[in-house]
Structures are given as C-alpha cells and as structure tokens.
Subunit: 261 residues, 3 copies
C-alpha cells in the first residue's frame, strides 16, 4: 500500500475498464455512474434478481449501498452477494446510515456476514454501529472522527477477513497488514450529497482490477476532490468539477498531491 500501488491501480482501471455492478441508492445513481465513467470504469446500475447471476458472471465487482433501503431490495442484495461469492468477485459494502435505524444496522450486518471477499467503506459512526457492542474499542484517544473508529475497523477486519475504509477528514484504510492514513480531500466535499457513495463505487472499480484495500479509490477521490474544490465556488461546482478532475487526473499530479501517512 504505497504511491506506486495507487498509480498502477489507476492505470489498470483505465486500461481494463472493469464492469462494476451497483445496487445503490436512488440519490446517487447518476453521480456514481458518472464518477465510474470519469475514472475509466464501466458502471451498470442493476437490481433485478432475474439478471443478477448473469451480471455477476461477467462483472469485475459488486457494490452494495443501502442508502435508500427498501425491504423489496434487501433479498436482491443478498442474492447479488451470493452470486458475487459464487463467481469469486469482490463485494464493496457501503452501510449508509448504519446506526440511524435498526433496519439499516441489521441489513448492513447481514451483507457483511455474507460476502466472501469484502471491503467495507463507511464513515466512523457507520463503522462503529456496524460492529456493535462486540467491536467497541475502549479508551481510544481519537485525534479526529476517523481515528475513533480504527479499533472497531480492526475488529471488523478480523471477524470478516475484510478490508475497511473509514472515510473522513483523514481516511484510514485498515487491512490485515496494518493501517494507512490519507490526508487528501477538502472540507467542502461533505456538502455534496453522496461523496461517500462515490468513494464506495470507485472502491469497486479498483477492487475489480485487484486493488482490494480501498486505498487507491480514497487517494484518487481525495486528490480529485481537492483539485475540484480549489476551482469551486460551492458544492454545485464541486460536484461537476470533481468529474472533470477524475477524468483528467494524471500520474504526475496524483504523485505530487498524495498525502499518505
């Protein structure tokens, strides 16, 4: 997990144009599809049970996002994860609003339990809620909100054999090998809806080319986001400039801007 891994993962996405199947929320479908296209990947937004087995046979990864959860969608998410497992494809879980309702907490846990090759991407409070009491870390002296969830993320990583991306002012990537911190991004980014969902979608694109830690996605989105924010008068411009910045991002800029720790 270093600069070279990130750069070569970006090149791989652009060359291979992996197909990423997204079962995601209504709010961000357009944005995340556009972010995947701007990165160089191929998005499909699909949620029908009838086509999920076929889709997962040729897709590179599955992204499951519970942002606008519906009881009619939950079994389809479970079935899609089953098909991803069957075809050996990585699954990115975005537990949007986990902890805000029992439905979201339980559904997130079921998906995390079911996925064989799992990457979890959430903010600190979602990660903490996902783990529940068993995963509560004690006595952590949190430097910022992401730090408060690192112990919990480590617990999740061990229980599920997964990688975890805690996004926030500092993004923390937790894997079996350790932790990497990333200090890219911009304070205006949370004023655009679904920025975390975009990170989860990009995580799927990178997972499809073998970069399953989530770091490359966080790095590319953080760098593109800060370039975009520098040119933006507000969140409307930022949403648009982010797509342009993802589309234009080159190796040199990526290397220069990366703030790994």
């Amino acid at each position: 997990m270093n600069t070279e891994t990130i750069v070569s993962a970006l090149n791989a996405v652009r060359q291979q144009k992996p197909l990423v199947v997204n079962i995601t929320n209504y709010v961000v479908m357009n944005n995340t599809a556009n972010a995947l296209l701007a990165l160089g990947a191929s998005p499909i937004m699909a949620h029908s049970r009838e086509e999920m087995a076929e889709m997962m046979s040729f897709a590179g990864a599955l992204v499951v996002n519970i942002g606008t959860l519906d009881s009619s969608w939950t079994p389809r998410m479970a079935y899609a994860v089953e098909q991803a497992n069957r075809h050996g494809k990585p699954v990115v879980l975005d537990p949007v609003g986990c902890g805000a309702s029992t439905l979201r907490t339980q559904t997130s846990r079921q998906i995390a339990q079911a996925a064989a090759q799992l990457i979890i991407r959430g903010n600190a409070s979602e990660i903490i809620a996902l783990a529940g009491e068993a995963g509560q870390s004690k006595g952590v002296d949190a430097l910022d909100s992401s730090e408060a969830a690192v112990g919990t993320a480590r617990h999740l990583a061990e229980v599920h054999g997964c990688n975890v991306v805690i996004s926030g002012a500092t993004d923390v990537v937790v894997t079996a090998e350790g932790e990497v911190r990333l200090r890219n991004g911009h304070a205006m980014m949370p004023s655009v809806t679904g920025m975390g969902c975009t990170l989860s979608a990009l995580t799927g694109a990178f997972a499809a080319v073998g970069e399953t830690t989530g770091l490359a996605a966080a790095a590319v989105l953080g760098v593109a986001g800060e370039i975009a924010a520098e040119q933006s008068a507000g969140p409307g411009s930022l949403q648009l400039n982010l797509l342009d910045a993802l589309y234009q991002l080159d190796e040199t800029t990526l290397r220069q801007r990366l703030k790994l720790a």
Copy 2:
C-alpha cells in the same frame, strides 16, 4: 412574516443543521438533497416503513412529494405522516401533478387530511386541484397565475389549519394571519426540473427550526435563484449555480435582494 423572520430563520438552519426526512420522487432526490446540504440542513431520503418511526423520532420535519407516485409508496407516505404527527413534527406536502391524474389528486388529499402540522407547497393549478370544487374561488381577477389560487389557498388553510405556499412568478404565502407576496426568482427557473420540489424541501428545513409559514424557504430560494440565473447561460448552469448561491448566501445580500409585498 418579514425580512427579520427570514434572516433569523436562515441563521437558525445553519446553526441547528436540522435533519429533514424526505419521501420524494426519483427525479429530484439528488438535487433536493444537495439543496438541503447547501442551505446547511441535513437531508435523509428514506421511504422504508420499517425505519420511519425511528427516523421521525429524531428528524426535524417530514417532506412528502408525490412526483413519481407508486401504489407501493402511498401507504408508506401515510405511515410517515402518522409518525410525524405522533412526534409533533411538521409535514410539508408537495402535491406534484395534482389534478393531472385521479391518483395524484386523491393521494394529495389523503396526505393533506392526515397531517397535523401541515404546510402545502404547490403551483396554482396544483393548489386549485387539491382543493377541488369545494375550494374554487369565484370571480377572482387574477393578476398572474399565483393570484388565481389565493382564494383556494385560503380555503385550504382554513379547512386543514395549514399554511400554503403558492409558487410562481410571484410566490404567495397564505397563513391564518394573512398573505405575503414575494417577487424574487427568475424566468429561467422553471426550465430546471424540480425547482418546486427544491422549494418544498427547503420549506421542510425551515419548518424544522420553527419557521412554518414557508416564506423563508421561498425567499432564500428566490434570491439564490436570481443570483444564480444572472450567472447562467442556460438551465444546466443554473442548477449548479443555484447550489453555489444557496451555499454562499449571506445576510446582507438576502436583505438587499428581498422583494416582499
């Protein structure tokens, strides 16, 4: 209902960042979430029955918008209103396309009937269709389309004990205390889809901090919209510049631009 009410309501939203639960249409979910964020509020787009009681217990307001109505959503809207009533939270009804189909007219009326603390936000024809024959005002010498619905809105306000915002070239806010007219906004705004839906969402944010007339939302959106339109070559730019203008709007500009009557 004057300039000071509007200014202090804007400050209250930015300080309290109220959570606004939206059961809204697919077309505008992204835009309205972004408009709420740009204003300083916290949007949740949720429609599951299983989580609505929890959501309404900590939300500040509920916005129900029937733009892409579906029979599977109608009972959930009714249940959400029931929960809003139970927790004493205001409900904003956006009766999109009321009058264009029997389904929309009937559903709008059921929601208006059910909500205890109701604000209705619609254009003149939707307001007139919502009231039906009983609310038809006679002999009105309409100056513009909003004026044509003022008598009807007054009828609705009395029947439901609610406030009504008629949006148009002139916005008219009808409450038990009387009427206020607002002449902000720009002729290009109706060329962006869901501009009325955005107004309804912002109305929810203001209602959550106690400004339940709808006037502050109409004022803020009207002023931000005209600032944005002055910088826009067309409706694509306008949609984006509107979010930037909402985000940047300051007290001085708001006071200077307001056209209350």
Copy 3:
C-alpha cells in the same frame, strides 16, 4: 429527412411544448427531464399503472427505457404501451443493455412487439441483440460500429413497421424510405452516463410533434453535444453545458453544424 425537416421539427417542439411521458431508469431521470425542458418540451416521469391511461390520453408520446429494469415495472411498461396504442401515440423504446441479460433482451422484444407506432433507439450491440438470430446480417463490411447494425436495423424496421436510430460515432437513422447518416457529436459524450437515454427522450419529444424518424433528435443532440464538448474540460462540465446548448440552440447554428450524409 433533411435539414429543413429537422429545423421545422425543432421549432414545432418549442411552440407546442409536447408532453412526453417517460417510464425510464433511475440513473437518468433527472438528466432526461432536464434535457426535455431545455429543448422546450414538457416531461413527466410516471410509472403508476393507476394513472397511465389518463396520462397517455393527453400526452404526445411515450418513452420506455429499460435501464434499471425491475419485474414490478415490466407489466406497467406493457400497460403504458397498450394505452399509447389505444390513444394513437408514438412509443420510443430504449433497450438499454439488451443482450447483457436474458431479462433485458426478452423485455425489449416484448415492448417492440407490442407498440403500434414504434421508434427504437439503441447502440449497435443493443440493436443486434434485440433482433436476435433472425435479424443477423451477414458479411457486412462495417466502417464503424453503427454500420455493423444497419442490416439488422432494416430487418427490425420491416418486422415491426418501425423506425430505428442506431447511435454511435455515426448515428444511422433507418426508416422504410431508406437510411440517413449523421456525423455530429463528440468523443467525450459516451463519458457522460445516459447520453443515449437523453437521445431517446428527445426522440419522444420530436415524435410527439410528428417527426417520428428519430433524425431531428439525433441532429439536435449531436450538434448541442459538440458545442458543449468544445467548452468542457471533462464529462462533468459536458453534462451541464449540454443542457445550456440545447436551451440556446438556434436555427442558424443548427444549419451550419449539421453533418448529414
């Protein structure tokens, strides 16, 4: 099918502001509604069975797009087509992802079979998948991907008595009278999600005013797209500039830029 047909069709849309009913996918609902508004048409996104008969009685055209297909929507699409037929309204079919799953291929064929006044708009691979083995053209020396589907499109046009628009670097419009090729557009356009869906929506607007070949929509979108792309640093800007360009497009620019063959 020539420049004058296109120009007069654009004028007709702007004067008549036809109502276009769209049963479309979640990803593009906002964009396609905005593109229809920017063109001068009136969009309704509706999918309830309960209101479809009323809607089709006063609408100018129906657009059915299977981008995020769901088994609960398929019967509603069929019912909407039935109502369009009953009221003598044209139907535009966008067979998104036809060939990528059995569900999409079968659903596309059912809709194509059912519509009385049909226009099909897809890319080459969707058109070829829609026709299936029976429509496979042999020995075609394809100049580009659209050319590879021309024989198949001709077969579909004969079987269904419909017009077919094959979109790509070159758009090919296939009708009973022959073929027209259009070389407008820009290489960045496929990096915006749902550009084909936008073309299908605009095709509905033109069909509603009697231009049922699909050519005017392809021409207007191609010209607006290339104007927008010339001003865009990436796909984010392009999506926005396209709406502005559609809104501003005048006869002179349209005539000057058209590349018909």
